[in-house]
């Protein structure tokens, strides 16, 4: 080759090895220089921040890690610390059960909440991760009934009978569908389910409970629930129920049927326009004015209903945002394929609209979960109320930060996991490979 190019004075025939980038252009030092000390303003801000963070940590870290875990009262803590300024974690050590399980939950029954919690995780996982076996979804469907039985106790016949109502409604709808249209047969199904839930079921359950109680657990009254358990019950029920109701409301608001549309708009605007605390007051206090004196309508149930209605109104608007963001062509494409309304929603519209709405949906979920602390004002002993009750004991009167930090941490863990999951889901569902 070289004899053909004699005019060329020099040809490199071996490549130089790649050199590392000069020091100062890579790694930590470059990152620090580029991001923290790129100009005099940044340098000044960095130095101020370092001083601030240092002074914060210098106070906080010894306070947190130098705290006393082994004490049975604030006085004891103070004696152990003997003037040193540090946390008294003894209160958490001694009373964490009250914050988790509620102040009044009998300690012999704690295992039931453990099982309910583990089952909740197992039931939720197949919904969250589609790599898991689909058969687990049966557990998800059964979970609400298991949960009611585990937490409130009593015989398993009651929850079974409620579940049977759905089965009865399903077969009634199918059966009636042979003789009439789908709308009318659904109505028949609903009517038969109501008949089952309010007349036939309770009668059968009453007889069965008297003769052969099935796995009867000690009954727990609603007012004995509290702490993290009640937050989870209200939060999870609200989340699980508000998404489907929200979807239906969002579709209803887009509907061409004027009556459906008006009802959905009325519902959404009413519940969005009223503060949650007002709804809770209505549930706990004003409802009593309208109910006959002997009607017992469980307080926890009333609260779950109100929280669900409230958040489904928000959910509907979030999903409507997703629907509005879809290009019109998607709807037209669905029509062109000959899909009917429900097929189009299920196969084309909703998967895309929900994907767009994920950040908003999770936002609503997190808000709902934190809003469960409002039940304190209607006499439900959630974590904050438990904290107040602990402080009212002479042993722990005067303690504040430790309890609130602990409760804050619990909420943070829950909300942060939700947020991380939604980010993971967004990445997974991303189809625009830019």
């Amino acid at each position: 080759m070289s004899n053909q190019n004699t005019t060329i004075a020099f040809v490199r025939d071996n490549m130089l090895d790649q050199q590392p980038a000069p020091r100062g252009q890579v790694g930590m030092s470059k990152w620090i220089r580029d991001n923290l000390f790129s100009n005099w303003l940044n340098t000044a801000l960095t130095l101020v921040s370092i001083v601030l963070i240092y002074s914060l940590l210098r106070g906080a870290l010894p306070w947190i890690f130098g705290g006393v875990w082994d004490a049975n009262s604030l006085q004891e803590c103070r004696e152990i610390l003997s003037g040193r300024h540090a946390a008294c974690w003894g209160v958490i050590n001694e009373r964490w059960q009250q914050i988790f399980y509620g102040t009044f939950f009998p300690s012999s029954e704690y295992w039931r909440t453990h099982i309910a919690f583990v089952l909740l995780i197992i039931a939720v996982l197949p919904v969250l991760f589609d790599a898991l076996p689909r058969k687990l979804l049966w557990l998800t469907a059964a979970y609400p009934f298991l949960m009611v039985w585990l937490i409130w106790g009593g015989s398993l016949w009651g929850p079974l009978s409620i579940a049977m109502g759905f089965v009865v409604a399903y077969f009634a709808t199918i059966g009636a569908g042979r003789y009439m249209g789908s709308g009318l047969s659904t109505l028949v199904g609903v009517a038969i389910a109501l008949l089952w839930w309010f007349l036939i079921g309770p009668a059968i359950v009453g007889v069965l409970n008297d003769t052969v109680p099935l796995f009867a657990l000690r009954e727990i009254q609603s007012r004995e629930l509290g702490g993290f358990v009640i937050s989870m019950i209200i939060g999870v029920s609200g989340i699980a129920l508000s998404l489907p109701i929200g979807i239906v409301l969002a579709l209803g608001r887009q509907s061409d049927l004027p009556l459906v549309k008006a009802m959905c708009i009325g519902f959404i605007e009413f519940f969005r326009g009223v503060p949650l605390i007002t709804l809770l007051f209505t549930a706990s206090l004003l409802l009593n004015y309208f109910l006959p004196p002997d009607v017992v309508f469980d307080l926890t149930l009333r609260v779950i209903v109100m929280v669900t209605l409230f958040s489904s109104a928000y959910m509907a608007e979030v999903i409507r945002g997703g629907l509005a963001a879809l290009p019109k062509g998607q709807y037209e494409a669905a029509d062109a394929l000959g899909l009917d309304y429900w097929q189009a929603q299920r196969l084309i519209i909703m998967p895309q609209a929900l994907k767009i709405s994920i950040p908003g949906i999770v936002n609503t979920f997190i808000g709902l979960f934190k809003d469960t602390t409002l039940v304190f004002f209607i006499g439900i002993f959630d974590m904050l109320a438990a904290a107040q009750a602990i402080r009212a004991n002479s042993a722990w009167n005067g303690i504040t930060w430790e309890l609130y930090i602990f409760i804050g941490l619990i909420f943070w863990v829950c909300c942060f996991s939700m947020s991380r999951y939604s980010q993971w889901l967004e990445r997974k569902l991303r189809t625009d490979h830019h």
Binding site: L74, R78, E94, R95, Q98, G102, T103, F104, F105, P106, S107, Q221, R223, F281, S284, L285, L286, N288, Y289, P293, F376, F377, I378, G379, F381, A385, Q388, A389, I390, R391, A392, N393, S394, N397, G398, T400
Partner: protein, 344 residues
């Protein structure tokens, strides 16, 4: 003790909504309680010494004892109580709506609550009054020396109004530091955000007892308001009001007559020379039947809960961390205001 504009509005709205309905159930609260099998009692969600669940989730306290006493009078069992913890904002609405049968929740008896909110106070179980606490360093020995002080005050309460009145009457000026809750007030005061913390004297004492260095703070001698705290029921059911009223009176009478939880059973079994003790314990007369209660309701109250003095000493007395002296709450024979009409 505390009254917010909000709760009045809420309670008023509730009452207007109920309108003429005014408690059908109210005409027979006692029957409803008996049928339900437990007394629904509204209590404070957490006030040291007055009402708070302990480490096992059992309600304890001076106000709680009143609920227990009423349950003991009706059922002979002080445990047959369902406690509903109520914030000051919702307590009256909860009572009016029938969510609870009675309130024993350190509530000040005032004209407007009695008359305008259509509630009935059935006695006074604690005579309180508003006081001031200051750091010792301030070198103040009387509230009249507090001119120009910053004062931590819970917003929307009667204490706020009392404070304004007191400073105006005495021609002093002050700078209020509004706070939202008891805890916040305590923290602000300890952090030095205000010179003075004012609220009911019993709460001041309890609060001071919880400080790391209680001796660095003093409660000033002035009491600037009357805060008679007592149990209350709905208007319109005098029979039920009588049950609650005479339960409290039975506890007070027992102390007057020297009947205690220790000697009551003995006195009832053997009878005494004093006919009033016999009537109180059900040995003579038909007082219980007149109330629609078992005739030994007084005996049940005293053996199972204790007399007024015993309840006071066990929950808020000087041997407890709350450490309140009897003061105004001593018997009338000992210079206090506690006085029961006779059992006759």
């Amino acid at each position: 003790m505390k009254k917010t504009v909000f709760l009045s509005a809420l309670a008023a709205a509730g009452l207007v909504a109920s309108g003429a309905m005014a408690q059908d159930s109210g005409s027979s609260t006692l029957a409803a309680v008996k049928e339900h099998g437990a007394l629904k009692c509204g209590v404070n969600p957490g006030t040291p010494g007055f009402a708070a669940p302990d480490a096992n989730g059992v309600w304890k306290g001076f106000d709680v004892d009143l609920c227990r006493a009423v349950a003991a009078a009706i059922f002979g069992d002080p445990e047959k109580v369902e406690y509903t913890p109520l914030t000051s904002a919702v307590r009256f609405t909860a009572l009016s709506s029938g969510e609870v049968d009675m309130l024993a929740r350190n509530t000040t008896w005032t004209f407007s609550r009695d008359v305008d909110l259509k509630l009935e106070f059935t006695g006074v179980n604690y005579y309180d009054g508003q006081g001031f606490m200051v750091p010792k360093d301030l070198g103040v020995s009387s509230a009249k020396e507090l001119s120009g002080a910053t004062v931590c005050i819970e917003t929307g309460t009667t204490t706020e109004l009392n404070l304004a009145d007191f400073f105006r009457v005495n021609g002093l000026d002050y700078e209020p530091v509004p706070v939202e809750s008891f805890t916040e007030a305590q923290n602000q005061f300890l952090a030095g955000a205000c010179d003075v913390y004012t609220t009911d004297a019993s709460a001041l004492a309890a609060s001071r007892a919880s400080f790391e260095t209680p001796n660095d703070y003093v409660v000033l001698p002035e009491i600037i308001s009357k805060e008679p705290l007592g149990p209350l029921v709905r208007h319109g059911d005098s029979e039920w009001g009588d049950v609650v009223r005479w339960t409290l009176n039975a506890m007070v009478s027992a102390e007057e007559l020297g009947v205690t939880s220790a000697n009551a059973a003995d006195m009832a079994a053997n009878g005494t020379e004093n006919p009033e003790i016999n009537r109180l314990l059900g040995g003579e007369g038909e007082l219980g039947a007149m109330l629609g209660l078992p005739n030994d309701f007084g005996l049940n109250i005293i053996t199972k809960v204790g007399n007024y003095g015993e309840s006071f000493e066990a929950n808020i007395g000087e041997s407890t961390p709350v450490g309140l002296a009897r003061g105004l709450n001593a018997l009338w024979t000992e210079g206090g205001l506690i006085y029961s009409p006779p059992f006759r």
